[in-house]
């Protein structure tokens, strides 16, 4: 039995310790917002935060998350940058088919106001999108980072 804090709540997970964190989230916890694109850590669709750091949950064994904190797209609204990013991905066309979107948003959550385009690109460098060609994703993230506190925005 493993204990993993997921989206603010401690859960007891009865799974094989080598089960992929992705499968634990999707199958054992019913959190299907995290997606699988390649199963080998190349596409980033399964990105979640592990102790605040974006990881590919398809190559993280569940045991590695034991006693630690995981945040998925379902918990993004509680993050400092989450709501602004979620809103901006709709408002600025960052989400098309939407399959990369949860991972893309999670990878972008550690960014801060004032971060440059290069820093944005680096943050999501491990996340593939086939629909947008990326400019709309850059615009979405830039817009979210520009907002000020009090307007559902991000505090630097």
């Amino acid at each position: 039995m493993m204990r993993i804090k997921i989206n603010g709540k401690v859960r007891r997970v009865d799974a094989h310790p080598m089960k992929r964190l992705l499968d634990v989230l999707r199958e054992d916890c019913g959190l299907t917002g995290t997606k699988e694109g390649c199963g080998e850590g190349e596409c980033g669709a399964c990105t979640v935060l592990l102790d605040g750091v974006p990881v590919d949950s398809c190559i993280v064994p569940a045991a590695h998350a034991e006693g630690r904190e995981v945040v998925t797209i379902e918990g993004a609204a509680a993050l400092r940058t989450g709501p602004a990013l979620q809103d901006a991905f709709v408002a600025h066309g960052g989400a098309q088919c939407g399959i990369c979107t949860p991972g893309m948003i999670m990878a972008a959550t550690p960014l801060r106001t004032g971060d440059s385009l290069d820093e944005i690109k680096t943050a999501i460098a491990g996340n593939l999108c086939r629909c947008t060609g990326y400019p709309a994703i850059f615009r979405s993230i830039q817009s979210a980072l520009k907002r000020r506190k009090g307007r559902r925005g991000i505090r630097a």
């Binding site: 299907t32 669709a45 979620q86 066309g93 629909c131 990326y134």
Partner: protein
């Protein structure tokens, strides 16, 4: 009330997609559901001599003997078996299906089910093949006379390779059986294609088969025909197991087994005068169809119709053939044959410009199709023909002339391409489809009922905008029913840049009819008084549209969208790596119903085209994709994406909804030739894709002089 068309309204599916609430096929589960796996051939050609299947009783096993109807995937030609009987024509051909309640029990299933094969010699060269799926001939004017009028005749051969659609969500379906009926949920573009295939294969009446599209994580053509095969597999297994069956491909299986863009060989022989007027075009197109016909005939059709490019020429001969080879079938991919043939003509045009010593912009401007001109099939173009406006806009915006001059002789290059793309099905295709769309009055507005699928491009939003304005109600008053064959009429497939121009127009007509019936009442007032009603509209060709399948002459498409790309890039002089710096993409699309989503289509298609040009390399070894992983089949990442500047030009098409034409496919027609032409500006004479460093090193013989020869 603010109009919806032309505004960036909030997309209908946006909030569910950013919160994780949107349900894709792998997010669904059904009571008693088991998992299915496909056992495939490991040889490219031969016969199955023996099957060794000894599995415990908790496995469900099905093969061709479990198919109640005829054993083929109904599409165009009934040549592709759903499950192989004896003959094997390609690697990864499906033979046996295995199901189990625990998906982990299926992980090593390939080692537990084995076959003895009798191999035969495979053929991978389409030109050496003796099986032709389709031949097409287009003739206009008198070719010999055209060549007699020429000062120079220039020849060239251009090759393109496979490309993988690489939707980030792999193919997947769930089949749910019930007494004498079957329901299939899945990630797919064309619910009624899947429906037709299931009706035939299961030998069921149409009303006993139901297909429901789930949220779909990208398609790009890759979920046009293949889901029919996968749905048939899941349905066979579900029928045998009498339980719901989920089949989701992992990335490796998706890359090995599903369709790719047709490789092509295009040969040009072109007559031109010294001043740059094209007098004759002789074009030969060969497409590699892979092992079964699937959609090759129609891919070839769109390919040959676009093979002369957006240029006026009185004397044209185009010959095309789609040939069988022993690789998995090639199929639909954004652009559908047109990117291949327009790659050929656009690279050829820059070679002509070099030989004549004429500026490539000037050569195109001399020959570009204008309103009133006729295309290769003899179609007289309307006022919305926009080759020149997009060319001028892109050249000006990118400062093409200045950069062309300044970068001459450096490792920086700039190149362009001019292209067009017919909207809707080719020729008589739309008449044969006879698509329908319906609109149902609700208590607050109206509900759209169409089989057109949302695959990221914004179908639901764009359709709702058209209906809102035509009905005269707010955008938020329009709902969109999911694409479920039990409820929506057959609006045709979601392909061919037809969802806005054709299906959108049907919806516009529905909305206007509904408005007439409402009279002075609002939908809410009418609903309270009389209840709901539904309006249906069926496709009728615009008056005067003519086409002959026999002579391949006439109005190939209702209308065309037009595009011009300028690519700026840099070549590393040591590693030969190419960095695309900037792409200027100008597109004339009639009317941008949702400008932001239209830009999204253009940027996304452009990036996909740049990927095809530079880095996407399907390595086929012994008929098998050797790099069937995202580790070594590389697509553009956020770090690779060039800067893009998009310009939209609107010249309304009279029969499109609010003047709109198609936009989805065209953006991928232009980037590859523009990249190769920019490399030519750097001194590399390439005639094939992709322009990897290895190819630049091996084939890119440096042109001798600045400006080339």
């Amino acid at each position: 009330m603010a109009r919806a068309v032309g505004r960036n309204v909030r997309r209908k599916d946006g909030d569910a997609k950013v919160s994780g609430a949107a349900k894709y096929i792998d997010d669904l589960t059904f009571p008693g559901m088991i998992f299915g796996s496909t056992i495939r051939s490991t040889i490219p050609r031969g016969a199955i001599r023996a099957r060794h299947i000894e599995l415990p009783a908790d496995f469900v096993v099905a093969d061709y003997r479990d198919i109640p109807g005829p054993n083929y995937v109904a599409l165009i030609d009934p040549d592709q078996p759903c499950l192989a009987v004896g003959e094997i024509r390609h690697v990864a051909e499906p033979i046996v299906l295995v199901g189990h309640a625990d998906k982990h029990a299926l992980i090593d299933i390939n080692t537990r089910v084995r076959f003895d094969f009798q191999p035969l010699e495979p053929n991978y060269d389409p030109e050496a093949s003796d099986v032709c799926f389709k031949r097409i001939a287009i003739d206009k004017g008198d070719l010999e006379r055209g060549f007699a009028d020429a000062d120079v005749i220039i020849e060239g051969e251009y090759r393109t390779s496979h490309q993988e659609q690489l939707y980030v969500e792999t193919n997947g379906v769930i089949a749910v059986p019930s007494e004498g009926a079957m329901t299939v949920y899945g990630s797919l573009q064309c619910p009624y294609y899947v429906h037709k295939a299931l009706v035939v294969l299961l030998n069921l009446p149409p009303e006993r088969v139901r297909v429901v599209q789930t949220e779909t994580g990208g398609g790009f053509g890759g979920k046009e025909e293949y889901p029919s095969m996968l749905a048939c597999h899941a349905a066979i297994l579900a029928r045998k197991a009498q339980r719901p069956v989920k089949m989701i491909y992992d990335r490796v299986e998706d890359l090995l087994a599903t369709t790719k863009r047709h490789p092509s060989i295009v040969r040009h022989r072109t007559g031109v005068t010294k001043s740059g007027t094209i007098t004759a075009m002789d074009v030969d197109v060969v497409m590699d169809g892979g092992a079964y016909a699937t959609l090759s005939a129609v891919v070839l059709s769109r390919g040959v119709i676009h093979a002369a490019g957006p240029y006026r020429c009185d004397h044209v001969r185009i010959r095309g053939r789609a040939m069988m080879t022993h690789t998995p079938p090639n199929g639909a991919f954004r652009g559908f044959g047109a990117p291949q043939t327009q790659f050929g003509v656009e690279v050829h045009l820059d070679r002509i410009a070099d030989q004549l010593g004429i500026d490539p912009v000037k050569l195109r401007a001399i020959n570009a199709l204008r309103p009133g001109d006729t295309t290769a099939t003899g179609q007289k173009l309307g006022k919305d023909a926009s080759a020149l406006p997009v060319l001028r806009a892109a050249v000006k915006r990118s400062q093409f002339a200045r950069k062309r001059r300044q970068w001459q002789g450096t490792n920086r290059g700039i190149g362009l391409s001019l292209f067009f793309h017919g909207s809707g099905f080719t020729g008589g295709g739309e008449v044969k489809l006879a698509s329908k769309a319906s609109l149902e009055l609700t208590a607050t507005g109206a509900r759209i009922l169409v089989a057109s699928t949302e695959i990221g491009q914004g179908t639901r939003t764009m359709h709702a905008q058209i209906v809102a304005d035509a009905l005269g109600v707010p955008y938020d008053a329009i709902e969109v029913h999911e694409a479920d064959t039990a409820f929506v009429p057959d609006s045709g497939p979601t392909v061919a840049s037809r969802t806005c121009m054709i299906v959108g127009k049907l919806l516009e007509r529905c909305a206007r009819d509904m408005r007439t019936r409402l009279g002075r009442m609002t939908p809410a007032q009418y609903f309270r008084k009389h209840g709901s009603f539904t309006v249906t509209s069926q496709y009728e060709p615009p008056p005067g549209l003519r086409w002959s399948d026999d002579t391949y002459a006439g109005d190939a498409y209702g209308s065309y969208a037009w595009g011009c790309n300028v690519v700026e890039l840099e070549v590393d002089p040591v590693t030969f790596e190419v960095t695309p710096l900037n792409v200027t993409a100008v597109a004339e699309i009639g009317k941008a119903i949702h400008p932001m989503m239209a830009v999204g289509q253009i940027e996304g298609g452009t990036a996909q085209g740049v990927g095809w040009a530079l880095i996407e390399d399907v390595v086929m070894r012994d008929g098998r994709m050797a790099n069937a992983q995202l580790t070594n089949y590389i697509i553009p990442t956020p770090m690779d994406a060039p800067r893009m500047e998009v310009g939209i030009v609107e010249r309304p098409y009279r029969h499109g909804p609010f003047g709109a034409k198609g936009v989805g496919e065209m953006p991928i027609d232009g980037p590859a030739p523009a990249v190769i032409n920019a490399l030519r500006h750097c001194g590399f004479d390439l005639r094939a894709l992709p322009a990897t460093p290895e190819r630049l090193l091996a084939e890119g013989r440096r042109l001798r002089t600045a400006g080339g020869r």
